[in-house]
């Protein structure tokens, strides 16, 4: 009886020590789920989901406060990936919500620009270069196409241009067997 108790106590002590050490050593800071959701989101920071940026939306999803179908730039594929990650059902975009659009970049009509810096302040990724009373320019490579710079412009000189298909962003299509008509008579043979 005493030996049994001693063994159990010893086991408890050893396992407790190991677990206690692991809890300190392998402590995870923050919610790792937020990181993984954030990694799937397209980082346009456009706010179409109703949250001020991708990370707040990721946090809302992680806490179960937001649906997974609120991110139009991520497209249906983004919803599929979020559904896979979270183990929930795929949910299409609601009809009353913002719909996915072709990827585009903002373009400033430079002769019209008055240099008011309002768009620079609106850009979430600092993709607009310029200074007060100087012409502004959008760095196309950095532009996420969030459209946040379009409404603040007082002279409406910013427009969104869809990214043209070129040799560098062209993709091979999924192989599809062509349906061909078999000449009459051959089918029977």
């Amino acid at each position: 009886m005493l030996i049994a108790l001693a063994v159990m106590a010893l086991l408890a002590a050893v396992i407790g020590t190991v677990l206690g050490y692991a809890a300190i050593k392998f402590k995870v800071e923050g919610n790792p789920l937020v990181e993984r959701i954030d990694a799937i989101l397209p980082q346009t920071q456009c706010g179409q989901c109703g949250f001020p940026g991708c990370r707040p939306y990721a946090e809302a999803i992680a806490h179960g406060e937001a649906e997974i179908n609120r991110c139009p730039p991520g497209g249906e594929e983004g919803i599929h990936r979020l559904a896979d990650l979270l183990g929930v059902e795929f949910k299409p975009f609601g009809e009353d919500q913002a719909q996915p659009k072709p990827k585009s970049v903002a373009v400033i009509d430079e002769p019209l620009c008055i240099g008011c810096t309002l768009c620079i302040q609106a850009c979430p990724v600092d993709a607009i270069v310029g200074a007060a009373k100087q012409m502004h320019v959008i760095i196309a490579d950095q532009c996420t196409g969030c459209e946040l710079c379009v409404p603040p412009c007082p002279v409406e000189c910013i427009r969104m241009e869809p990214i043209a298909l070129g040799v560098n962003n062209w993709k091979w299509d999924y192989p599809v067997a062509e349906i061909t008509r078999i000449p009459h008579g051959k089918a029977a043979s």
Binding site: L41, Q43, V125, Q142, W172, P175, A177
Partner: protein, 541 residues
């Protein structure tokens, strides 16, 4: 000493069809009336146009400047007038028109001023910049800029391999080049030897080209160049396959050949290096095989930018049952949308095909897992497994099974009894994965920029607050302290107001004292005292 040759896994023996186009010597294609020179003829960033419509250009003049680290210069192939700078159809599987310079040739074929470079006295960097300026790219098909590939600072080189295998059926441009211009190729190899300092140089040529082997052997006598005849098996001219056959070295996954001390270059590239350095001529022409369903198949030395219908006409035109055209061979060639596209640096062959020469594959049937594709794969992959993953868009799994090792040689397509377009599936999967990786990179960059912006905004806010606090003279640590500060300021102001003492009021004359008294009395009772108009008109209103 005879070199011990090795073998690689798989490979196939398709019908050769080389004899058709090797009966006649290389012919110089006459000047076409119009040249269309695309600004992207290489892997990497398109060149930046340097000319505008209306400009007069000379033969060999730079019309496209290299842009970025991986890019190559583009030159005018003949003298004439630039008539347009517009998107034009190019030989690319997408069929998307690309920016091209259209030149109306004047027929004079006047050269721009150019001079040879003595590579023996030149710095290596000077030699590389000459290659860059001359637009030298790998002419084996990948068109990778040579000045990047041959940068000797990157590696310690043991073996330099010159690729003269030309394993794909129908094509004979390298074969004819070696037969007729072996001496010039050897001069190009000498430049490569100087540039790279390899311990050994081997030229690998498939043994179905005895004339080329003999020509190169006699031209390279006593030069320390070994010409090795390798067995004819497709794709023996693949870079990794050739390295395996000649050296026995297997280039590991995700590693470039130079990491195992080998550099492999096409013999046509060596020839254009000779032209660029010893003659000062940029890459403005190449040898191209025009063969297949044409009346007189042969090889032409044609200017870059020559419309392909011009070359087809030189080969006697096509036979009436021609169905389609390929740029390259039947295994890896790019289908051409029309013959209006120009000859580019990558065009080693123009192949006209009829249904009799190569019937279109019958509709694909389901995979029966016979694994013949795995037996034929020269990269030791399992194409049937990759096919399942690409078919189901399971790209992560496809990458796990080394999809990116696939060289798209189409051996698996060739042997598949179900006629599944396997390579098409692999290309689809590869381009999807690339697109995703690009998106991921863009997203990561955007996240970083967004986070940095937020950090900056917060920092600016904090700095502003600190500045205001400093101006107020107190630290606004919390709202109570702030209130207290405001209260104190108010009291200070009150005390100051109360403490205001009128100045210069001593020793006043009695009249002035009387006036002051009157004013004081009015101020004390402003509303119940009637102000006489005549005495104080200035203050009334």
């Amino acid at each position: 000493m005879k070199r011990i040759l090795h073998t690689f896994h798989g490979g196939i023996h398709p019908p050769q069809h080389k004899l058709e186009s090797t009966q006649l010597p290389i012919a110089l294609a006459p000047l076409p009336p119009k040249l269309v020179i695309p600004l992207i003829q290489h892997i990497g960033t398109p060149a930046q146009p340097l000319v505008e419509p209306g400009d007069l250009v000379l033969k060999g003049q730079v019309i496209g400047q290299p842009e970025g680290a991986i890019s190559a210069a583009i030159h005018a192939s003949s003298s004439g007038r630039v008539v347009a700078l517009e998107p034009h159809a190019i030989p690319h599987p997408s069929g998307i028109p690309q920016l091209a310079v259209v030149i109306e040739v004047d027929g004079d074929d006047r050269w721009v001023e150019h001079s040879p470079l003595d590579y023996r006295t030149a710095e290596r960097g000077e030699l590389l910049s000459r290659l860059k300026a001359a637009g030298v790219v790998g002419l084996g098909g990948a068109v990778f800029p040579s000045h990047v590939k041959l940068d000797p600072q990157q590696y310690k080189l043991q073996t330099l391999i010159l690729n003269g295998a030309e394993c794909e059926p129908w094509i004979s441009s390298d074969d004819m080049l070696m037969r007729e211009r072996a001496a010039d190729i050897v001069k190009g190899i000498d430049i490569l030897r100087y540039l790279l300092g390899p311990q050994e140089i081997i030229v690998g040529i498939e043994d179905n080209k005895p004339e080329a082997i003999a020509a190169l052997r006699s031209a390279s006598q006593g030069c320390g160049i070994e010409v090795a005849a390798i067995p004819t098996i497709y794709p023996g001219g693949g870079e990794r396959q050739l390295i395996k056959v000649l050296t026995g070295k297997e280039v590991p996954v995700g590693v470039r050949p130079f990491n195992v001390g080998v550099v492999c270059t096409n013999i046509a590239t060596a020839y254009s290096i000779h032209r660029a350095v010893n003659l000062g001529e940029p890459v403005i022409s190449r040898i191209v095989t025009v063969t297949g369903n044409v009346r007189q198949p042969r090889n032409f030395e044609a200017l870059v930018g020559t419309p392909l219908h011009h070359l087809i006409a030189l080969a006697g035109g096509v036979l009436p049952d021609t169905k389609r055209y390929l740029m390259g061979g039947p295994m890896m060639g790019v289908p051409l949308p029309s013959l209006d596209v120009p000859l580019v640096k990558a065009s080693n062959c123009i192949l006209a095909l009829s249904e009799q020469l190569q019937a279109p594959p019958p509709p694909a049937l389901p995979c029966i897992r016979c694994t013949r594709c795995a037996d034929a794969c020269p990269m030791d992959l399992g194409p049937f497994e990759l096919y399942w993953f690409a078919c189901g868009k399971n790209f992560g799994k496809a990458q796990e099974y080394d999809l990116f090792d696939c060289i798209e040689c189409a051996c698996c397509d060739y042997v598949c009894p179900s006629h599944i377009p396997l390579v098409h599936y692999f290309r689809f999967a590869k381009s999807e994965i690339w697109a995703r990786e690009k998106e991921k990179e863009a997203a990561d960059a955007a996240r970083q920029r967004h986070e940095f912006r937020q950090l900056r905004l917060e920092r600016e806010k904090a700095e502003k607050m600190a500045k205001h606090a400093k101006a107020a003279g107190t630290a606004p640590s919390d709202s109570d302290a702030k209130k207290a500060a405001i209260q104190a300021a108010l009291e200070r102001a009150k005390a100051k107001k109360a403490a205001v003492v009128p100045k210069n009021v001593e020793n006043l004359p009695p009249q002035a004292q009387h006036e002051i008294d009157q004013i004081e009395a009015r101020r004390a009772a402003p509303h119940n005292a009637e102000i006489p108009n005549d005495t104080d008109s200035a203050t009334s209103n």
